[in-house]
């Protein structure tokens, strides 16, 4: 996984009725916590995984979030929700 992007047709949305972040996909919706939503917003197929982790780290006062980002995206890839734009 080098340059992650959302799978075709997956769309991030904040549901202001249920007040939660969602990843909308064909016939379904994945509930996201705020951090996961921030990570996925950065998955544009241009940024590398390290750049995404660095950008998030900045928002969290320099905390090391690399492993968390890798774990989150790993799970998303397994479920076909995120793909590698470089592949």
């Amino acid at each position: 996984m080098t340059r992650p992007r959302l799978a075709d047709g997956a769309r991030l949305q904040y549901d202001d009725v249920r007040e939660e972040h969602l990843l909308l996909v064909p016939e379904g919706a994945v509930r996201l916590n705020a951090t996961a939503a921030q990570v996925l917003e950065l998955c544009d197929g241009r940024r590398t995984l390290d750049e995404i982790a660095a950008s998030l780290s900045e928002r969290y006062s320099g905390a090391d979030v690399g492993d968390d980002v890798r774990e989150l995206l790993g799970g998303m890839v397994e479920h076909g929700l995120v793909v590698d734009a470089a592949a």
Binding site: A7, D8, G9, Q13, V17, L24, V25, P26, H79
Partner: protein, 371 residues
């Protein structure tokens, strides 16, 4: 307790359709006047916004054939503006690359194309019109434009033995999802039950093929396999439970808890022309009648498996059709005193010709052209 928030709006834009599939789940009454006065663009636009405010996330633009609506691009744009995730459920015959590109630009999220059989001649026979090549072209155009693609194939005795070919076709078309929904016996399928009912052996071979495919392909293609209710021993929740997840709006504006509910006598369906969706969901009798568990009779009331809030009593239309009482336990359930009607239905009569679906009046019905 307030009802849960709905999740899905099924917008049946028109019952007009270029196909004539004998298992169509539309009401048999589409030959009459009831559904001819279709909602206008501004009705649907308002309904989409009201649905989102209620909590709806998924919108199915369906029919009939939704692409017969001349305002489809406008409706798609309205759905996107409302914040709904939209799926076009289409036969594919009108989905040229140019139309698909316009729908993409309007904000359509997902395309679902039906295929009646992976064999071209059989597809055209079941659909009642020449359509196979256009369907494949539509599916390819959708993928080229970056749409996620679902292929939908309704299964029955005539096409179940081709399941390996259906799976291969979905893979070749680069579909993300394949819906293998066995025919359920509502609408036109009731008229064709003897010609469509599969055998237990066909279903077992089909399921085994699906399992082999899943093991080989993994999560790249999500294959849904749905057994016909009549081959189950415990009921499924009707559309996630009556009035729990889904609102269906028919072409004439009638709002229903499920697409077959119009067959239930004594239910009056509110119309979105007259009532806001919020009132329909929370107050209308048709949505409350079988919601929750208070309406249940025995054996549901004292269910030995405690499944009341799992299957919500099963399918009301099936209970009506097989027992004459829409409030009875779904006879699919092995605890139903009427379960024998389900066992009997599995014994399919010899094959017969199809009664093709049509919106024409019976006096003008004839075998469709092009077969």
């Amino acid at each position: 307790m307030p009802p849960p928030r709905p999740y899905t709006l099924v917008a049946e834009l028109s019952y007009r359709c270029p196909l004539h599939c004998p298992y169509c789940s539309n009401p048999a009454a589409i030959t009459g006047e009831r559904y001819r006065d279709e909602l206008q663009t501004e009705h649907w636009t308002r309904v989409f916004a009201e649905a989102r405010a209620l909590g709806v996330l998924q919108l199915a633009l369906t029919g009939g054939e939704p692409m017969v609506r001349r305002d489809l691009d406008e409706l798609v744009a309205a759905a996107r503006a409302a914040g709904l995730y939209s799926t076009l459920v289409t036969a594919g015959v009108h989905l040229t690359r140019e139309r698909a590109a316009a729908l993409k630009a309007a904000g359509l999220d997902h395309v679902q194309v039906s295929v009646q059989s992976p064999d071209p001649a059989e597809n055209d026979l079941i659909a009642g019109t020449r359509s196979f090549d256009k369907k494949l072209a539509a599916a390819r155009a959708a993928r080229e434009l970056g749409f996620p693609l679902t292929i939908n194939c309704v299964l029955h005795r005539r096409n179940l033995d081709r399941i390996e070919e259906i799976l291969a076709l979905a893979e070749e078309l680069d579909a993300q999802r394949l819906e293998l929904a066995n025919t359920q016996y509502y609408g036109w399928a009731v008229l064709n039950q003897d010609a469509l009912m599969p055998t237990r052996a066909q279903l077992e071979r089909g399921e085994a093929a699906v399992q082999r495919f899943r093991a080989r392909v993994g999560p790249r293609i999500n294959v849904l396999w749905v057994l016909p209710d009549l081959f189950e021993d415990l009921p499924k929740p009707c559309t996630g439970g009556w009035g729990r997840t889904t609102i269906v709006v028919a072409p004439n504006g009638e709002a229903l808890p499920c697409h077959a509910a119009s067959t239930i006598p004594g239910l009056e369906f509110p119309n979105v022309r007259d009532s806001p969706l919020d009132w329909i969901w929370h107050e209308a009798d048709a949505f409350q009648r079988f919601r929750g568990t208070d309406w249940m009779q025995e054996p549901c009331r004292s269910c030995p498996l405690g499944r009341q809030e799992e299957d919500w009593g099963g399918c009301r239309c099936q209970a009506l059709r097989l027992t004459g009482d829409a409030a009875a336990t779904d006879p699919v359930c092995r605890f139903s005193p009427d379960h024998g009607t389900v066992l009997a239905a599995r014994e399919a009569a010899p094959n017969r010709d199809f009664v093709y679906r049509t919106t024409r009046r019976p006096s003008r019905r004839r075998r469709p052209a092009g077969v």
